[in-house]
Amino acid sequence: MESPVEIVQHTTGGMIGASWLMIAFPLLGAAILLVLGRMTNRWGHLLGVAMSLASFVVAVLAFLELIGLPAEQRRQAVHLYEFIPGMVDMGLLVDPLSISFCLLITGVGSLIHIYSIGYMSHDPDRRRFFSYLNLFVSAMLLLVLADNYVGLFIGWEGVGLASYLLIGFWYFKPSAAVAAKKAFVVNRVGDLGLLVGMFVIITTFHTLTFSDLGKAIAANPPSGGAVTAIGLLLLLGACGKSAQLPLQSWLLDAMEGPTPVSALIHAATMVTAGVYLVVRSGAFFFPEGSPQALAVAIVGAATLLAGAIIGTAKDDIKKGLAGSTMSQIGYMMLGAAFGPVGYTFAIGHLITHGFFKADLFLGAGSVMHGMNDEVDMRKYGGLRKAMPITFATFFIGYLAIIGFPMLSGYFTKDGIIETAIEHNQVLGWLAVLGAGVTGFYMSRMVFMTFFGQKRWADDAHPHESPLVMTVPLMVLSLGALVLGAYLVLSNRLYEFLTPAVGAAEEAPHFAFTSVPGLATLALVAIGAAFAWYKYGRAEVPSVQPRGSFLTTFARRDLYGDALNESLFMRPGQWLTRIAVYFDNRGVDGLVNGLAAGIGGSSGRLRRLQTGFARTYALSILFGAALLAGALLLVGNI
C-alpha cells in the first residue's frame, strides 16, 4: 500500500484559495436569517437556497481547478489564520476526498433546500427552518474541509447542534423534543470519544494537523498501543455520529424532524461523517489488519444487519428508511476497514447512497405531503396512480438501494461486499445476507406504499406534489440511476481518490460475474419475491398484527432502547435520585437552616432600626463609649 501524496501548501489564489467561501456563504445566510428574524420571513427561504447554491458553485469551481492539477499536487492546504497559537493553525484541506464530500453536501443539500420550499410552504416557521439548514451546511463543510482535528471537531459539534435544532424543529411536540434530547445525549458519548482521541493524539504526536501528523508518524513510528487507543476512540466518535452499534438508538427517533432534514442530515450527509472520520484518519490510525480496523469492520457488519432487520418490521415509512440508513452506513463502515480499495467503495457507496437515499426520503416526504402527513404504510397502498412522478423516482431509488444490476447501488455495494470477502470471509458473507434482507424490506415498503389495495384514511386525498418538490426528486433519481456506473467502471473514483487516501497494491476491478455478486443478486431476488408474496399479492391489514416474537424483536429496535434504559438510564436515574436525596437532606438541610438563621437574625436586628433619631443618637453614644473603652482596655493590656 502506498501512502497518500504529501499535502502541498497552497499559495496562489484561485477557487481553491477561496474555498473558505463555501463555509462562509451558508454561515452568512444562517446569521442573516437568525439575526434579522421575522423581517426575513417573506424572502428568507430564497436567501437560504441562494447561499446553498453559491456554495455549490464554489465547490464545482474548486473541483474543476483541482482536477486540472497533476495528481501529485491534488492535496492543497489553505492556511486561514492562527487559531490556538503554537498549537493549531486553522486551515482548509482541499483534496479529492474533501471535495467529493463538498460536492455531495452542497449539491444534494441545494436540491433539498429547493424541495423544502415546497415541503415547508405551510409552516409558519419556514424561515427558521432554512436558517438551521444553512447552519448545518456550513458546519458540515467545515467538518470535511478542515485540515486539522480541531476544525473537524468544531464542524462536528456544529452539525450536531444543527441536527439537534432540526430534530426538535417542531419543539411543541413532546416526542420531537424528547427525540432531539436523545440525539444530543447519545452524541455526547460519541463526541467524548472523539475529544479524548484528540487528547491522545496531541500528547502522542504534538500536532492535530493532518499534514504534520503524516510527517510525525513517518519520522517516528509510534507504538501500537497508542495508535490502537486513538483508533478505538475515534471509532467511538464515528459510531455516535453515524448511528452505528452501540450508539445507534437516536437515529430512529430522529425521524421526528421534518422530512427534508431526515433526507439531508440523517441520510445523505451528517450521519456519514463517521465514515469520513475513519477514512480521513485511515492512513494514520486504521492500518489494514490492525485490531482497530477489525473493530471498524465488526461494527459495520453488525450494524448493517441490525439496521436491515429493524427495517423489516417498521410500518412507519420514515423509520423504515432510517433503519435502512443505519444498515447502509454499516456497509460503508465495513468497507472503510479494508484500506484504499475499501475506502474507494465506502466513499463511492456514500456518494451513491447520498443520492438514492435522499431520493427515497424526499419521495416519502412527497407521499406524506399528499397524505396529510400520514407516515403509517398500512394506511397507504395503491398510490402509484395518484402520484406517478413520486412513484417513478421512488422506484428508481428502490432499485438502486437493493442493488438492481447496473444501477448505482449495485456497483458500490457489490464493491464493498467483494472487498470484505477478500479480507474477511465471515463478515463479507454477513454483508451478502444483509443485502438479501435489504431486498425484502425495501420491496415491502414499495409494495405497501404504491401497490395493492387503497387503505387510505377517509379524509385522505392523495395528489402529486408541486414541481418544486418533484424536480429535485428527478435529479436525485438520475443520480441514483447512473452515478454508480460512472464512478466505479474504469476505476474513476479510485484513481481520483488515490492522492488523498493512498493507493492499493492492486487496483480494484469490477467483476460482473463473481460468486458473491451472483449470490447477492439471488438473495435479493428471493427477498423481493418473499415481500411480494407477503405484501404485494396478499392483502395488508391496516392495523398492525401481533406478529411473532421475532417481529416484536425487530419492531422494538432489537431492544436497543430497552438495553440502554436498563443499563444506563435507570442506574443513572438512581444515581441522581440518591444525589438529590443527600442534597435535600444533608446539604440543603444545612444551607436552609443557615439561611433561616440568618433571616431570623436579620428580622431581629431590623427591629433595632426604630426610626427614632433619639435611639440612633443613643446607639452612637454607646458606640463611642465602647470604642473609647476598648481602646483604653487594649492599650492597657
Binding site: 436579620s602 436586628l605 431590623r606 432600626q609 452612637i620 463611642a624 473609647a628 476598648a630 483604653l632 492599650g635
Partner: protein, 527 residues
C-alpha cells in the same frame, strides 16, 4: 511678639478645589441677583463646567507629575497622589450626580411650604423651582474635596462641615413623599451634628495631648510620647466616631437607611458615592498619617468594627423591602469591606502601597456602580413618585428587559461576580488584607485571615439579596398595575451608560484602572 505674616497659598496646586468653591460662590450670587427664569440656564453650565474644569486641572497635575511632597497652604492641605486620585473620582461622581439632579421632577417647588398645602400647589403651578440645589451641591463637593485632603484636624473639621451642611438641606428637598424627606433631613442633621461634636471633642483632646492639630505634629509627638495616655486614646476614639459615622460603619450606621430612603434619589446617589469616597479618604489620612504609630492600639477595635459592619449590613439587608433601603444596607456592608482594606493599609510595612491602591480602586469601582444603580432607581416610577417597594419591581425584566438587565448587572457588580468591576475591587482588597496578614507572620496575621473569611461570608450573604432582586425582576409575574418606566433624559441615559461602561470595562480589563490606582498610591500620603 510675632508679627502677623501673610500666609502662602499654593493656588496652582489647590486650583481644582478653589474652582469648585468659586463656582459655588458665583452660584449664590446668581441666586441673589438673576431673575428666577434664567437661573437654571446659568446654573447648569456653570456647575457642570466648573466640575469638568476642576477635573481637567486634576488631570493636568497628575500628568505633570508635579505632586507636592509636602503639605501646602501653610500645612493645612495635603495634595498628594492619593488625594489627587480621590479628587478625580469625586469630581467624576459629582459631575454625573449633577446630571441626575438636573433631571426634572426630583426636587420640591417650594421647600418652605407645608406639604399638601395651597402654598405648595401655587408654587407648583407657577413653575417655581429650587435652583439653590446647584450651588448647594457645589459647596458639598468642595467640602468633599477638602475633607480627605486636609492636613490638620481643624481644616478637616471645616471640610466635614462644608460637605455636610449643604447635604442636610438637599436631603429635605424631595418633591414626592415630602414628609419622609423632611424627616430624613432632620435626622441627618441632628445625628450629623452629634457626630461632628464627637469629632470636635476628639480634636480638642488630641490637641491637649500633642499640643498641635497638625497631622505631622501629632505623628511626631506619638513617636516620642506615651501611647497609653487616656487623653490620646479617648481623643482618638471620639475622632473615630466622627469619621466612622460618615462612612456608616456599625454601630454608627443607623442614619444611613433612613436618610438614603428619604432624600431625593440624585442626592442619595451623591451621598452614597461622593461622601463615602471623601470620608474613607479622610479616615485613611487620619489613621495613617496622624495616628499610624498608634496602630497596635486601635487595630483590634477597627477589626471588630469592620466585622460588625459587614455582618450588620449584609444580614439586615436581607429583610428590607424598599429598594433604596436595601441599597443603603448594601452600602453599609461595603463600608465594612473598605475597612478591611483600611486595616490592611495600616501595616507597618509602610512602603507597601498595594493595599492603599486596593482601597482606591475599590472606591472608584464601587462608587461608580452605586451612582448607576441609583440612576436606574430614579426611572422606575409609580404615580406617587419612585416605586420604592421591592414588590413593585416584580417582573420588571419582562416589561423593560434592557433597564432590568442593566440593573441586574449593577447588582452582580455589587455582589462581586467575576467579569464585573466589583469582583476585582473585592479581590484587590481581600488579597491585600491576606498578604499584609501573611507578611506580619504574628498572631495579627491570623486575625486578618479571619476577617477576610468573614468578609467572604458576608459577601455570600449579600449575594443572596442582590440575586433575590434579579430573581424578582426576571422570574416573577409583573403586577397588573406595575410601575411605569420614565422616559429618561439625556443626562440620566449618560449617567447609566457611563456607569455601565466603567462597570463592564473595568470588569473585563481592570489593568489600566489598577495601574492608575497603583500610581496614585505609590507616592503614598505626604507627612
Amino acid at each position: 511678639m510675632n508679627n502677623a505674616v501673610a500666609p502662602t497659598i499654593e493656588y496652582g496646586t489647590l486650583a481644582p478645589m478653589l474652582l469648585v468653591f468659586g463656582a459655588a460662590v458665583i452660584g449664590v450670587l446668581v441666586e441673589a441677583f438673576a431673575p428666577h427664569y434664567v437661573r437654571k440656564a446659568i446654573h447648569v453650565p456653570l456647575t457642570l463646567l466648573s466640575l469638568a474644569g476642576a477635573f481637567a486641572l486634576v488631570i493636568v497635575q497628575i500628568v505633570q507629575g508635579a505632586v507636592p511632597t509636602a503639605p501646602v497652604a501653610m500645612g493645612a492641605v495635603a495634595v498628594d497622589g492619593p488625594a489627587l486620585f480621590i479628587w478625580g473620582v469625586i469630581l467624576v461622581l459629582s459631575f454625573v450626580c449633577v446630571l441626575l439632579i438636573n433631571d426634572e421632577g426630583h426636587f420640591v417647588a417650594s421647600a418652605a411650604a407645608v406639604p399638601g398645602s395651597a402654598d405648595e400647589e401655587e408654587a407648583e403651578a407657577a413653575g417655581v423651582t429650587h435652583t439653590e440645589v446647584y450651588p448647594l451641591a457645589l459647596f458639598a463637593v468642595g467640602g468633599m474635596l477638602l475633607f480627605p485632603a486636609s492636613h490638620d484636624l481643624l481644616t478637616m473639621f471645616v471640610g466635614l462641615e462644608v460637605m455636610s451642611l449643604p447635604l442636610y438641606l438637599l436631603c429635605g428637598l424631595a418633591r414626592r413623599r415630602r414628609l419622609l424627606s423632611q424627616e430624613a433631613s432632620m435626622k441627618y442633621f441632628l445625628l450629623g451634628a452629634f457626630s461632628s461634636a464627637f469629632f470636635l471633642y476628639g480634636t480638642a483632646m488630641i490637641y491637649g495631648y500633642a499640643g498641635t492639630v497638625s497631622f505631622t505634629g501629632i505623628n511626631e509627638s506619638l513617636a516620642t510620647g506615651s501611647l497609653l495616655d487616656p487623653l490620646l486614646l479617648i481623643g482618638f476614639a471620639l475622632l473615630g466616631v466622627g469619621l466612622l459615622f460618615k462612612i456608616g460603619a456599625a454601630p454608627f450606621q443607623a442614619w444611613k437607611p433612613d436618610v438614603y430612603q428619604g432624600a431625593p434619589t440624585p442626592v442619595t446617589a451623591l451621598m452614597a458615592s461622593g461622601t463615602l469616597v471623601a470620608a474613607v479618604g479622610a479616615l485613611l489620612r487620619v489613621f495613617w498619617v496622624a495616628l499610624g504609630n498608634l496602630d497596635w492600639n486601635w487595630r483590634p477595635v477597627i477589626w471588630a468594627v469592620a466585622a460588625l459592619t459587614m455582618l450588620v449590613g449584609a444580614i439586615v439587608a436581607i429583610t428590607q423591602t424598599d429598594i433604596k433601603r436595601m441599597l443603603a444596607y448594601s452600602s453599609i456592608a461595603h463600608a465594612g469591606f473598605l475597612l478591611i482594606g483600611v486595616l490592611a493599609t495600616f501595616d507597618k510595612a509602610q512602603e507597601n502601597a498595594k493595599s492603599l491602591s486596593a482601597i482606591l480602586f475599590y472606591l472608584l469601582v464601587y462608587s461608580i456602580t452605586t451612582v448607576g444603580a441609583f440612576a436606574v432607581v430614579t426611572m422606575v416610577r409609580d404615580p406617587g413618585g419612585e416605586a420604592g417597594h421591592l414588590s413593585r419591581w416584580a417582573g420588571l425584566g419582562k416589561r423593560s428587559p434592557l433597564l432590568a438587565g442593566v440593573f441586574a448587572f449593577f447588582l452582580l457588580a455589587f455582589a462581586g461576580i467575576p467579569l464585573t468591576s466589583g469582583f476585582f475591587g473585592k479581590y484587590a482588597v481581600f488579597a491585600a488584607a491576606l498578604s499584609s496578614g501573611a507578611e506580619r507572620g504574628d498572631s495579627l496575621g491570623g486575625w486578618m485571615t479571619g476577617l477576610v473569611v468573614l468578609g467572604v461570608v458576608a459577601s455570600a450573604v449579600a449575594a443572596f439579596f442582590y440575586v433575590r432582586v434579579i430573581v424578582l425582576m426576571f422570574f416573577s409575574e409583573p403586577a397588573a398595575d406595575g410601575p411605569s418606566i420614565a422616559v429618561p433624559s439625556m443626562g440620566t441615559v449618560a449617567v447609566i451608560a457611563v456607569s455601565l461602561l466603567v462597570t463592564v470595562g473595568v470588569g473585563l480589563f481592570p489593568q489600566p484602572m489598577l495601574d492608575l490606582a497603583n500610581q496614585a498610591a505609590s507616592s503614598l500620603f505626604v507627612r
